[in-house]
Amino acid sequence: MRIGEIIESTSTHFVAEGFELNHPPALGSFVRVCVGEGCDLYGVVCYGETGSLDPGRRAVRRSTEESFDDQIYRESPQLEHVLRTEFTSLAVGVIERGEVLQCLPSQPPPLHFSVHGCSADETTLFTENLHYFRILLRASGLVPVEQLLAANIRQVHRGRGEDKDWLQRAAREAANLLKYDYDRLMTLLYAIEPTS
């Protein structure tokens, strides 16, 4: 399913304008961009933001005692057109004719190309291998990397039908990668611990 259009593209990440206001794809979820015949570039959502379409116009408070939340959008229908939701994805690999490559792509995805949400099958195929954790842990963004990786592990775990084996494998891989950073590791492990 198309969920956005690329408006900024680099070798390491791409920014897309989402089609649904206030609903960027979940932090840590997988997205893909079809960059050629049988070739999809995979990304992990690392940041989302909603603001004014025009940088010169800031959003201001609109709520009153009687009107707030969804009601604001019903009373000011133009907001759907003057606000926009953007999300950033880290490029983490490519699937070319069924072969998974977990590394930075050779080319940034083309501007204005569509960003698709990934199906459970696509996510499962890409996450058989966990090398892409290394790319996520080296990301430099506003979201702390351990939170980003934790969000990704939660999303994938859910996408793989609560696959316990995979979750244990992901936790061991994360523990291995963060073995010299106890605080970050514990933050991550607490964040991915199943609630039940």
């Binding site: 025009d54 959008y73 009373e75 229908p77 133009q78 057109h81 003057v82």
Partner: protein
Amino acid sequence: MKLSLLDKALQQMTELALAKDRTQWLVRARQLLHDADPDRLRGKLLDRTVRVPWLVAIPLSTMDGVFEAPDCPKNFTVVAADGSSIPPDRHSPARYYVINTGHAILTYGDQPDAALDSSAQLHFQSEDLYLDPLTGSFPVEGARLSAKMVVAELKALWEATERGEEPVVALSDGSLILWGLQNEHARVQQQLLGEFLRYLERFRGAGIPVASYISYPGARDVINSLRVWLCQGEAIDCGNCSASEVMDFCRALVGILDRQLFGFLRAGERSAVFESTSAILDQYGADRIQFFYMEVGGEVVRIEAPQWVMRNSEMLGLVQAVVYDQCRRSAIQPPYPPALQEAHEQAAISSTERQLVEGLVERALAREGIVYTRSAKDRSKRRRAV
């Protein structure tokens, strides 16, 4: 510029603005508005033998009437349009101008919706550039370009209105009185005003109320009418005025604006309807423009509309209700109708876009081997070499 040279004048200007006696005069002016007999004043204003040297407001009912805003319908649409232009540049080798119109269609109620869009047009043919292309006279610039833009705005407003769900109110920004054409040649008036009135006629034919919103109005029409009421002379001849007991008051009234006079209105309330005496309105026929003042929740604004809107109590009520509702939905203070704000945002041409248009023209000419050379004066301003 040596800003220090303005210091003293700035101080004097501030003192003038703070003139305490103005409040007293304003109280007296409001009392006069209450006391003036609208029928007798109308008679005096319409008396052809009394030459009135100012623009005045002819009272149609009361002078000091106050009317509360009725409730808005549950479902309704507000349509607004605005325009912006890149005027012809006499330093450029190619003569052209650009008019960009923007519109907003905002639907409220059970199924809220919005449509915002703009439309730009490059005018370069001789019939676009000159109102008499054969002789190359009446170039479209200054007041003529402004009038051309107002016509384009009204056209955009009409086209957008056709897409709106009824009941619909069409709002434009600024005055519907094209007074800028007053001193133009009959041919110019005929062309520009003719087209403008054809669109007003369409609104009338469709029974769709169209009105314009003037924020921070600088008009004194009602104040001037009060001065006429005050004047005891047979003719309005300020140079030879001997009525000393009212002279001070009359002179003080000159410093008061209509929006200050109607400052007693409360949020949502409007004044009575008045008719403007602008000479250009003699050509408006059935679409003669009338106006009222209204407190929208932080500002007294002027609303203008054709007489067929003002005379129809249902349309008049709808315009007042919708304008007040728009201002209550505004995200800024003092409020401004969101439909007009979005239409303006669509119509605005940024400085980057202006440069872009110039670059596009330059490249289009270059493709045909025409070198784009600007005037020496213009180049000296751009290069600013020392």
